[in-house]
Amino acid sequence: MKAELLKVILAVVALPGAQVEGNVPILRAADRASAEKKADLIARILDAMVHDVGDGVFLIVRH
């Protein structure tokens, strides 16, 4: 049986000016469209989901 990390923030995509820091990969995106696209791609690659927590921060979380 393989172990999987669930309910973990895998990455963060942030718009300019977003208040983010921490020990996860943080991708800075130039504008909203590019941020959404990036977040979407990462989520698909990792079988995870994008959550928009507002203020230009997108969390990639696997459930």
């Binding site: 079988d47 995870a48 959550h51 927590v53 696997r62």
Partner: protein, 297 residues
């Protein structure tokens, strides 16, 4: 005579067993065979006792041990399949199914035992020609009883289902006013609105509400919808994972599903037919006068 009764009962019990079988057609035979063994052991019990063979009691307990084995085998099978299911059954549902498998063998055995005993009693006490009529009568009676016992409650017995509106408020997905989840990707939101369907499940009593809100029961509902109607969910599309969330104030359940086929009528029919799980049945506020009928609205 005992063998004849065993054969008769076996036929009856086989039919009971066959009809009680939930949707899993590939191992009919295995369970029919175990059911047959149960019937033979049950049918042989009384004649063996009459013949002074008290070892028959041992065989009953032996059979019971075997049926416990059936239960754990079924549990293991379902549990190992769980990993490759897009929408899991959940441990409560698995335990319920396994318990039913075990119980059905006891049912088969009890039916055989009753039939053989009644037949023999009629034969000994009332006259030698009454064996068959009495045995057949008792067999039919136990069959009817067994069929009655077979079906526990269903969701449709205790709750009303109606279609609801699936909508987004920013990134938040709602079923009517019940919050389901946060979907951050616009593309995923489009997919959710395209494939998702929403229903509102309202229990008719507080007891029923307590049972339905049991997470195992909710998972069983979701699994059944996906098992019958398929799902649009994919490994890389967790947004299409079906979910049930409760509204805190009213206890209503917002059901979000993504069936591959079927219309609202089909989905609602499936939801109504989901069995009420025994583990969820434990909660019974009515026993403490906390229940009662719920207001309309």
């Amino acid at each position: 005579m005992g063998t004849a009764a065993g054969f008769l009962v076996r036929l009856l019990v086989l039919r009971v067993d066959y009809r009680q079988y939930p949707s899993c057609p590939h191992n009919y035979l295995a369970h029919l065979t175990v059911g047959f063994i149960a019937a033979v052991v049950g049918a042989m019990f009384t004649p063996a006792l009459l013949a002074g063979e008290y070892a028959a009691v041992t065989f009953l307990t032996l059979a019971a041990t075997q049926f416990r084995e059936v239960r754990s085998v079924e549990r293991e099978t379902l549990r190992s399949l769980e990993q490759s299911l897009l929408v899991a059954r959940g441990p409560d549902y698995i335990e319920g199914i396994a318990a039913v498998f075990e119980a059905r063998n006891y049912l088969a055995m009890a039916a055989a035992l009753t039939t053989a005993t009644v037949g023999l009693a009629a034969d000994r006490l009332l006259g030698p020609y009454l064996f068959w009529p009495a045995a057949v009568g008792a067999g039919v009676l136990t069959l009817v009883l067994a069929l009655g016992l077979r079906s526990g409650g269903r969701v449709g017995d205790v709750a009303d289902v109606r279609p609801a509106r699936l909508r987004f408020e920013g990134p938040s997905l709602y079923v009517d006013d019940i919050y389901i989840m946060n979907v951050g990707s616009p593309e995923a939101r489009e997919q959710v609105l395209r494939w998702g369907r929403a229903y509102l499940l309202r229990a008719r009593s507080e007891e029923a509400a307590a049972k339905l809100s049991h997470p195992g029961q909710r998972q069983a509902i979701l699994h059944d919808v996906c098992a019958v109607l398929g799902t649009r969910k994919d490994l890389a599309m967790p947004e299409l994972t079906p979910m049930i969330r409760q509204q805190v104030e009213t206890g209503d359940l917002g059901v979000y599903v993504t069936p591959a086929v079927g219309d609202d009528g089909a989905v609602m029919a499936v939801i109504r037919r989901v069995p009420l799980l025994e583990s969820a049945r434990g909660s019974d506020p009515g026993g403490f006068d906390a229940g009662g009928s719920r207001r309309e609205g």
